[in-house]
Symmetry: C2
């Protein structure tokens, strides 16, 4: 370690879940790895909880390589205690409890995070709950509120209402005075989505949801993880001035769109990956989230839905659960 | 006429070119019509020149009905002298020479225009040249500079470099310090487009233009009138942060797009029709154009390319020319 960091004494070796080779859940193996060293603008976190996300599954399959400089271990969000602070890592101090958005390396007992992508653990939340916040909160804030500028009184549509993103999007939309319309793939999930606060929920495997949504007054913002054939159906039920934001494409990476719809209603389509945003942007988002969203969490107005917590050693089971699609809310690893 | 307008003495009847029924150029007939009365927020213009635009052809075919309240006569832009001013029509005075963006009624000896959609005839331009300004200037300004925010040092791509929109887009992009890349459908038009100031021009019927444009450093903004198969090729050659604006779809109203491209490069797609914008928005655009573009026209830095001027009685010939695609620059009707 360098002289440039404030730190407490840590072991040299940690347990981590690594991807042995591209493949199914069984390629995730518990391994020993050196505890990473934080760069000058990073903190080192002793991880209690690590969130599981769909991109981790893609990375495991070999389709989503980590960006240059990032850990080869999967894991995009953690919560725990700061045990070392780089020289230029803002005001963070050893001993503080934080959750953080990271470019990789979360499936481990220790992980480095850029200081700007850390947030304090909201009062009243466990570290397991906090571990499920960064990926969904950054994603929903960046796309729905920052890029698409959802306003009070407008209507949000999100498919997959029981997913981590779905539950967060519904919770935040409602907390900011917008209507939330969601879809889900089973009637059980539709019921769960209604209980999460959605104003209207449709079963996307059966309902002609775009016409139902038009009948309800249409949507102003769509947060889309589906892609494929749903994109043009989303455009159909968007109101004039509507915004369509793509963050995944579980139904297909290509979409056939109606250009006249875009012109006539002056729709805006955009998309992003969270991982592709640079540190400055993540810092900007973290500050906005801390200001606008954290007080809502502390006040109990926005919750984090936890599906299940698995020990780090059971990471393969956690991935099987994610791929089953049966989960409602976040799947978390216990690295403590 | 009401007491609410300042006016000079005008005849009660005028010549106009009307659409007898949906069909080919031959359905355009010279007719007698009452001279229209301006509303409180309008001026009446004695028309010298009227611009011909592609939407006029669609309207003639029955595909683009005039918006509610607009004249049933075709014609979206005129230049001439103000002969009557409504009570709430700003500072315009009888006798001033203006060009105006109108929702219809331009193919006539007299036309009403919302006061906010009028601009003075730039010093040094004839009324025929000025008649060719509004539709292209409003369209290019609204889409390329207002919505897509093309900046100095960035690169614009426009297909159909010799069209009215193409020539204007190239001229304005260059005047504001951007690079202009264009395509055209014949080598003659490629040559003409280069002479109009484009930095690079490709023959879209032969060249693998998207790869050529990538090799040149890519595009930051695409002003797209093509739609169809060109949309995804446009997305291919857009740089990270690129903006794609649809204003027509000459190659097809549907497009198959790659969502991963949009997410990975954080592209923004939008579109609009000029006719669908309300009076307040047109006023806002007119003010911006008067401030930012008119001085460039007066200084000779941005020109208006006139293809041919036809007498009002020869309107069918003018449409035949438009549909031939052989024109380079604007086709204008002489209503004087």
């Amino acid at each position: 370690m360098t002289d440039d960091i404030e730190m407490s004494l840590q072991p040299a070796v940690m347990k981590a879940a690594a991807i042995e080779k591209p493949g199914g859940p069984e390629v995730l193996k518990l391994v020993d790895r050196p505890v990473p060293e934080p760069a000058a603008d990073e903190v080192l976190i002793k991880v209690t909880g690590a969130g599981i996300n769909r991109p981790d599954v893609l990375q495991r399959m070999g389709f989503y390589p980590p960006p240059p400089g990032a850990s080869d271990l999967p894991g995009l969000e953690v919560a725990g205690e700061i045990v070392a602070v780089g020289k230029n890592a803002g005001d963070w101090r050893v001993g503080e409890q934080v959750c953080a958005l990271i470019p990789g390396g979360g499936y481990a007992q220790y992980a480095c995070a850029h200081f700007g992508a850390c947030l304090p653990v909201p009062e009243g939340l466990t570290l397991f709950e906090a571990a499920g916040l960064p990926e969904t909160m950054f994603t929903v804030w960046a796309n729905v509120f920052d890029d698409a500028a959802l306003k009070s009184g407008e209507t949000l549509l999100v498919h997959g209402g029981t997913s981590g993103i779905g539950t967060t999007a519904i919770g935040l939309a409602k907390a900011f005075g917008a209507r939330a319309i969601a879809t889900a793939g089973t009637y059980e999930k539709c019921t769960a989505t209604r209980q999460l606060g959605a104003d209207a929920v449709f079963n996307y495997t059966e309902d002609n949801w775009e016409n139902e949504i038009i009948a309800l007054g249409g949507a102003d913002v769509v947060l889309d993880m589906t892609g494929g054939d749903f994109v043009n159906r989303n455009l159909e039920c968007l109101n004039p001035g509507g915004r369509h934001v793509s963050i995944a494409f579980l139904r297909g990476a290509t979409a056939e769109i109606n250009i006249l719809n875009i012109m006539r209603k002056r729709l805006k389509l955009s998309g992003s990956t969270l991982r592709g945003r640079d540190a400055a942007e993540k810092t900007h988002l973290a500050n906005a989230i801390r200001t606008h969203v954290w007080p809502l969490i502390v006040a109990g107005k926005v919750g984090v839905a936890i599906d299940q917590i698995y020990p780090l050693a059971d990471v393969a089971k956690a991935h099987i659960r994610m791929e089953s699609g049966a989960h409602i809310g976040k799947i978390i690893l216990d690295a403590s």
